[in-house]
C-alpha cells in the first residue's frame, strides 16, 4: 500500500542522526507510526515534572526552546531547530520530565513512539550512543555511563568508534614462543633461555595455559640476589599474572598495555584470554621496531638529534602520532601527557643545542619558562611560541653583561624553535624580547606592578604567567618567582574581580547555532572561533578559581577542574563537567586542525555534523554555568 505521508516523514528523518543510521525497513516502520504535532508560538509541549509522554520528539520546522521551567526568565537549556531531537527522557528513564519544552516560534514536531523505537534501539547501539549524547547534552551530568547502562542493561561496554581502529596497524609479535612447565626448575629455564638466545619464557600449567612469564629481570632480582636457589620450580620466581591479548593487538594498544601494566612483555593467546594457549610473545623491542615514530622512538630520536632540521622532521612525526592517537579515540588525558612530554623534550633539546653553540657557559643560573598552552601542558598542535627567561640576581656592575648573554641565548633558542616549526609570537612575547628576559628581582617587581596597578593588558600578561611551566634550568629560581606571585595575589579581591571580568569577556556561545541557522541566506557566513568563544572562558575560569584556592602546582586546565572538584565537593559534578568540556573541546579543535592542516581555531559551521554540534552545545552549556559562578563568586556584576 502506498503511504505518501509516511514516505515524506521517512525522507525527513533519514537526513538526521540518529535516524540516518537506522535500517530502511526499520525507519519506514518508525515513519508510519510518527505523530505530527503543531505547536503555535509559546505553546508548551511538556513541562518540568509532567509525566512522561509516549513519544520523544524531533523538530520538523520552527524552533523549540528547552528551559528549566516555564517561567519567562527560566534558564535556557537548549534551543532546538530543524532535525534536533529532544524530550528523550522517557526513552531512557521512567522519571517525569526535568525540563520544559516551549515552541519558541511556530513549530511542527514529529513524535517518535517509544514503543516502536525501543526494539530498534536494542539492535542498534550507535543509535543509542547518539541519543545518549544528545540527552546528556541537555542534562547537567555529562557522564553518560549511567544512562547507557539504563539503555543497554544486557550489553557489555559500548564499542565506541570501532571503525577507527581499523586504521591501526596490527603489531608484529614473535610467533611460537618458548614455554616452560611451571614445575621445571629454574636452572633448566636458564639453560633453555641461553641456548635459544631469548630473554623470556612463558610459564605454562598442566593444560599448557600461560600462567606467568620469566624474564632476565626475574633472574637478576630473585636468583642473583640469593633470594631463591636455582633449584626451585620456575613458578616461584616467575612474574604473574600474565597479561594476555588477542593477536589483533595494535601498536598503540600494546604500548598502552605495557605502560599500564608496568611490564615489557605481553602474551598473545588464541582468543586473547589466559584460558587459551599462548601463540606469541610481544616485547618492548617489538613495539619499538614495529613503529619508528612511536612515542618512545621519537623521544629517543629527539635526544639524539643535533640540528633544527632533524627536530623539524621529528616535530612533524609528533603530529602524525597525535593524529593516530586522536583517531583511535585514546583518552585525551593520555594524549596530552604524551604529546606534552614530547614537546617538552623537543624544547629542552633546542635549548641544549643553543647552549652548545654559545661561546661560553651561562654566567649564572637561569630557567626557561614555557607559557600559554605549552605551559598548561595542553598544547597538541603546533602553535606560536610563548616563552620567557628568568636569571639569577647579579651585582649591578655585572647586570648588563649577564643580560646580554641571556638575550643572545634566547634569540638563538627562539630562532631554532622557529625553524623547528613554532612560529614567532606576533606580540613578541618571547624570551628574546628584553621585557621577557629578566632577572628574578625584576620579574618580581614586574608582577607586583601588574597585580597592584591593574589595567586590562596587565591582566592579560599576568594571566599568561600563572600558566607557566619550567621547561629547562634552575628550579629554585622558578619556585621563588611563583611564590612571590602567589603571595602578591593574596588579600587582593580587586585583582580577582578584574580577573573575573576578563574571564567573562567572551559571552556564552549558547544559542549561537540557532542564530546561524536563521541568518543562513545572508552575509552571515562567519566561522566559529572555538578558542576565544569556548576554550578561553574555560581556561580563564579554571585559572581564577584555582588561584582563589591558592593552588599553584597545577597548570593543566582539565587537572585544575579535577582539583577543584576535590576542593569543593558541593560543586563536584559541575567541575567534572568543566574538565570534561575542556577535554572535549581540545580534542575537537585538534581533530579539526588535523583535518584541515590548521591550528583548528576557526571552525566552519557548515561542515559540522549534527553530532559535532551536539558535542559543542553540551560544552557551551557548561561554559555559561561557569560564567554565572564566576560572576557571583568574584562579584564581577558591578563591573559588567
Amino acid at each position: 500500500m502506498k503511504n505518501t505521508i509516511a514516505d515524506r516523514v521517512y525522507d525527513f528523518l533519514k537526513k538526521y542522526p540518529p535516524f540516518d543510521i537506522i535500517k530502511k525497513e526499520d525507519l519506514i516502520t518508525i515513519a508510519e507510526n510518527v505523530i505530527i504535532a503543531y505547536l503555535e508560538k509559546g505553546k508548551v509541549l511538556f513541562k518540568n515534572d509532567d509525566n512522561r509522554h509516549e513519544h520523544f520528539y524531533i523538530v520538523k520546522e520552527g524552533g523549540v526552546v528547552l528551559k528549566k521551567n516555564e517561567l519567562a526568565d527560566a534558564e535556557i537549556i537548549d534551543i532546538c531547530d530543524e532535525g534536533d531531537v529532544f524530550g528523550l527522557r522517557p526513552l531512557i528513564t521512567n522519571d517525569s520530565y526535568m525540563m520544559t519544552a516551549i515552541a519558541e516560534e511556530e513549530a511542527l514536531v514529529y513524535g517518535i513512539p517509544i514503543e516502536v523505537f525501543k526494539p530498534i534501539l536494542a539492535k542498534e547501539q550507535n543509535v543509542g550512543l547518539f541519543l545518549i549524547e544528545s540527552f546528556t547534552s541537555k542534562t547537567k551530568n555529562p557522564f553518560t555511563k549511567k544512562y547507557s547502562d539504563d539503555l543497554y542493561q544486557n550489553t557489555e561496554a559500548l564499542n565506541v568508534g570501532e571503525k577507527d581502529f581499523q586504521e591501526l596497524q596490527v603489531i608484529r609479535y614473535t610467533k611460537d614462543p618458548f614455554c616452560i612447565d611451571k614445575d621445571d626448575l629454574v636452572i633448566k629455564a636458564a639453560t633453555r633461555m641461553s641456548e635459544n638466545k631469548v630473554g623470556s619464557l612463558i610459564v605454562v600449567d598442566d593444560d599448557n595455559l600461560p600462567i606467568g612469564i620469566l624474564t632476565d629481570k626475574d633472574f637478576r632480582h630473585k636468583i642473583v640476589t640469593g633470594m631463591f636457589s636455582t633449584k626451585v620450580p620456575v613458578s616461584q620466581i616467575m612474574s604473574f599474572p600474565v597479561e594476555t591479548f588477542k593477536k589483533t593487538l595494535t601498536v598503540t594498544e600494546a604500548q598502552l598495555a605495557m605502560v599500564k601494566n608496568k611490564t615489557g612483555h605481553l602474551v598473545i593467546t588464541e582468543d586473547g584470554t589466559d584460558q587459551t594457549k599462548a601463540i606469541g610473545i610481544l616485547t618492548e623491542h617489538d613495539v619499538v621496531i614495529s613503529q619508528g615514530n612511536s612515542a618512545s622512538g621519537l623521544m629517543k630520536a629527539i635526544r639524539r638529534s643535533r640540528s633544527s632540521k632533524e627536530l623539524r622532521k621529528i616535530r612533524q612525526q609528533i603530529t602524525q602520532l597525535l593524529k593516530g592517537y586522536i583517531f583511535q579515540n585514546i583518552p585525551l588525558t593520555i594524549i596530552t601527557q604524551i604529546i606534552h612530554e614530547l614537546n617538552e623534550a623537543l624544547t629542552i633539546r633546542v635549548i641544549e643545542i643553543a647552549l652548545d653553540r654559545m661561546p661560553e657557559k651561562p654566567p649564572v643560573q637561569f630557567a626557561w619558562l614555557s607559557l600559554g598552552s605549552h605551559g598548561r601542558k595542553e598544547q597538541l598542535l603546533v602553535t606560536d611560541q610563548d616563552n620567557a627567561l628568568v636569571f639569577e640576581d647579579v651585582p649591578e656592575d655585572k647586570y648588563e653583561e649577564v643580560k646580554k648573554y641571556f638575550l643572545i641565548l634566547a634569540t638563538k633558542v627562539n630562532i631554532l624553535l622557529n625553524k623547528v616549526g613554532y612560529e614567532f609570537c606576533p606580540a613578541d612575547m618571547m624570551a628574546r624580547n628584553p621585557k621577557w628576559c629578566q632577572s628574578l628581582t625584576e620579574w618580581k617587581t614586574q608582577f607586583s606592578h601588574w597585580i597592584h596597578h591593574v589595567d586590562n593588558e596587565d591582566i592579560l600578561y599576568s594571566s599568561i604567567f600563572f600558566d607557566f611551566n619550567r621547561t629547562y634550568g634552575n628550579k629554585e629560581i622558578v619556585k621563588e618567582l611563583s611564590d612571590s606571585i602567589f603571595s602578591a595575589t593574596e588579600y587582593n579581591p580587586l585583582f580577582f574581580t578584574l580577573m573575573g571580568r576578563s574571564a567573562l569577556q567572551n559571552p556564552s556561545p549558547l544559542g549561537f547555532f540557532r542564530q546561524f541557522l536563521v541568518e543562513q541566506d545572508g552575509e552571515h557566513k562567519d566561522m566559529f572561533d572555538i578558542k576565544a568563544r569556548a576554550l578561553m572562558p574555560l581556561i580563564d575560569g579554571a585559572r581564577i578559581l584555582i588561584l582563589s584556592h591558592k593552588i599553584k602546582s597545577v597548570n593543566n586546565t582539565a587537572e585544575r577542574y579535577e582539583r577543584l572538584a576535590e576542593l569543593e565537593p558541593a560543586n563536584k559534578d559541575f567541575y567534572l563537567s568543566c574538565s570534561y568540556a575542556v577535554k572535549a573541546l581540545i580534542k575537537f579543535r585538534t581533530k579539526h586542525g588535523l583535518l584541515y592542516h590548521s591550528t583548528g581555531r576557526y571552525i566552519v559551521l557548515k561542515e559540522l555534523t549534527k553530532e559535532e554540534r551536539l558535542k559543542l552545545k553540551r560544552c557551551f552549556k557548561t561554559i555559561s554555568e561557569l560564567q554565572e559562578l564566576i560572576k557571583i563568586r568574584f562579584k564581577v556584576a558591578q563591573f559588567l
Binding site: M1, I5, E32, I36
Partner: protein, 222 residues
C-alpha cells in the same frame, strides 16, 4: 404527505451506509475544539466537470487536538477504467500507476468507515465534496452528512480583507502554503495535498485565536 415519507424510507441502503449514518444520530456542537476529530482530505480527479470527471484518488489525515497521527492517514487509488467516457483524458498517473487500485464502491465504503461523523476539512471543500457526492450518487447513495469547513474561507478570515489591499480574492492552496510558510511537497497527490491542507488548517486555527474552552460551534460560526 405520509405516503411520500413512506416511499422515502422504503429505499434500502447497504449496511455500510447505515453504519455511517448511525454516527450522526446525536449531533454535538458543544464539544471542545481540542476533542473534535477533523478529517482533512483532498481528491485527485480527471478534471473539473462534475458530470463527466472521475475521482482518481482520495487522501486524508485525521487532526485531533493539533496532532496528526501518520498511522491514521488514508490513501486510496481508484480503478476508473470501467467508468471512463472516451472524452475524458486520463492523467499519466492513472495509466501507469504501480499502486494497488480499488473499485469505486470499495473506496467509498472505506472512506465512510474512516470518516464517520468527523468534521470534513478541505481546501475549496465544495469541489471535493461535490465530487464525492457524485460518487455516492452513482452508487445509489445520498450525499455526505458531515459538517464541512473550507480552509480557503477560513484563511480569508485570518486576514484583514480590504478592497484597497486588493486581497478579496480566492486563495489557492499554493498561495495559502506560501503565506503560512508551509514548504510545498507532493503537491497534486491527494495525500500530499491533504497533508498540506492539514498543516494550513492547524496554522489557520492558531491564527483565529480561539479561547482554550472554545467549542466546535464557535468554529462553525466563523
Amino acid at each position: 404527505m405520509r405516503s411520500w415519507f413512506k416511499k422515502k424510507t422504503k429505499i434500502k441502503y447497504p449496511k455500510f451506509w447505515n453504519t455511517y449514518k448511525s454516527y450522526f444520530e446525536k449531533e454535538e456542537l458543544n464539544i471542545p475544539l481540542k476533542d473534535v476529530t477533523f478529517v482533512v482530505f483532498d481528491t485527485e480527479t480527471t478534471g473539473f466537470n462534475y458530470a463527466n470527471d472521475r475521482v482518481l484518488s482520495i487522501g486524508a489525515v485525521k487532526v485531533i487536538g493539533n496532532i496528526i497521527d501518520v498511522k491514521t492517514s488514508f490513501e486510496v487509488y481508484l480503478d476508473q477504467t470501467a467508468f471512463n467516457p472516451e472524452t475524458v483524458e486520463i492523467h499519466g498517473i492513472m495509466k501507469n500507476t504501480k499502486f494497488e487500485k480499488i473499485q469505486e464502491t470499495k473506496a467509498l465504503r472505506e472512506f465512510l468507515a474512516y470518516t464517520k461523523d468527523a468534521v470534513i476539512v478541505a481546501h475549496h471543500v465544495y469541489f471535493d465534496i461535490t465530487m464525492m457526492n457524485k460518487v455516492l450518487e452513482r452508487n445509489g447513495l445520498p450525499p455526505l452528512l458531515n459538517r464541512t469547513l473550507d480552509t480557503g474561507y477560513l484563511f480569508k478570515k485570518t486576514k484583514a480583507i480590504n478592497t484597497l489591499l486588493k486581497n478579496d480574492r480566492g486563495y489557492s492552496l499554493d498561495d495559502v502554503c506560501k503565506e503560512l510558510n508551509i514548504p510545498i511537497k507532493d503537491r497534486h497527490t491527494a495525500a500530499g495535498d491533504a497533508m498540506l491542507t492539514a498543516q494550513a488548517f492547524l496554522k489557520i486555527l492558531a491564527r483565529l485565536k480561539f479561547k482554550p474552552e472554545s467549542t466546535l460551534k464557535s468554529l462553525i460560526r466563523k
